[in-house]
Point group: C2
Chain length 127, copies 2
Amino acid sequence: MDNWAEAFQALGNRERLRLFFLLVQRPDGCCVCELVEALELPQYQVSKHLRALRRAGLIKSVRMGRWAYYTVADSRVGREMAAFTIRVIPDSALTDAVFRLRAAVARREDGRCVVQARRPGDNNARN
Amino acid sequence: MDNWAEAFQALGNRERLRLFFLLVQRPDGCCVCELVEALELPQYQVSKHLRALRRAGLIKSVRMGRWAYYTVADSRVGREMAAFTIRVIPDSALTDAVFRLRAAVARREDGRCVVQARRPGDNNARN
DNA sequence: GTATCATATGCTAAAACTTGCATATGGGGG
DNA sequence: CCCCCATATGCAAGTTTTAGCATATGATAC
């Protein structure tokens, strides 16, 4: 019961819900910089929101070199919430973010993220 | 999207989740005093949490004489969340509350709530 | 080693939420 | 009308969340 309340609470935030939704659409996971690009949020915010989602048991992360890949957790809470958000949230609500994420992922080389190259002036996330 | 974030946030609280769960189990609705008895919370808390759930579009209320009957809202958000909580939260998590609620409802006369008679000393909710 | 990129985290101020108590409102009944 | 019951709400204090900025950590490349 309390696990579920925590999960609800974690998703009870616009940005975190978007974040989770993106991860749901990408079962093999993506790294923080790709999410930063997709959501157009400062990197520190993405990191913190990811941590909140992880604490709620919704997602997990794996380090690959300097990158951290996040995926929906293979837990009850993760699976059920993923299914629910897919069922309930229309893709149209995130077309732009999904598009940008796809673009970022498409730019990978040898399956490794090469987003980088955000020039100075962006909202943190670089420099 | 934002509607869903709000709904998640509303359910992201232990007491509100219990509250909603009870209402889901009782499609014809129940009144505040019955919920107070079931959850063993002060009346003002139940009222406030109900308001939060209503603002999120999850439940609705109808005045019947001096009683207010709450039910799961017949909205997308209400229906989907009801189905989800039923699916995901084990009855065993709320056996006691459900039991007390059933007892309170069983005490109705002519379908009207007659819980009353909480004597002084209880946590608000009377007096 | 140093430099650099990707990510995480500590700190702070502002905002939102929770809780408790008191009290208000709305509706009956005598 | 006055009193009582059921419910709602205003306010204050304490707690948690959030957002932003700076900076730390981890890891690779040179």
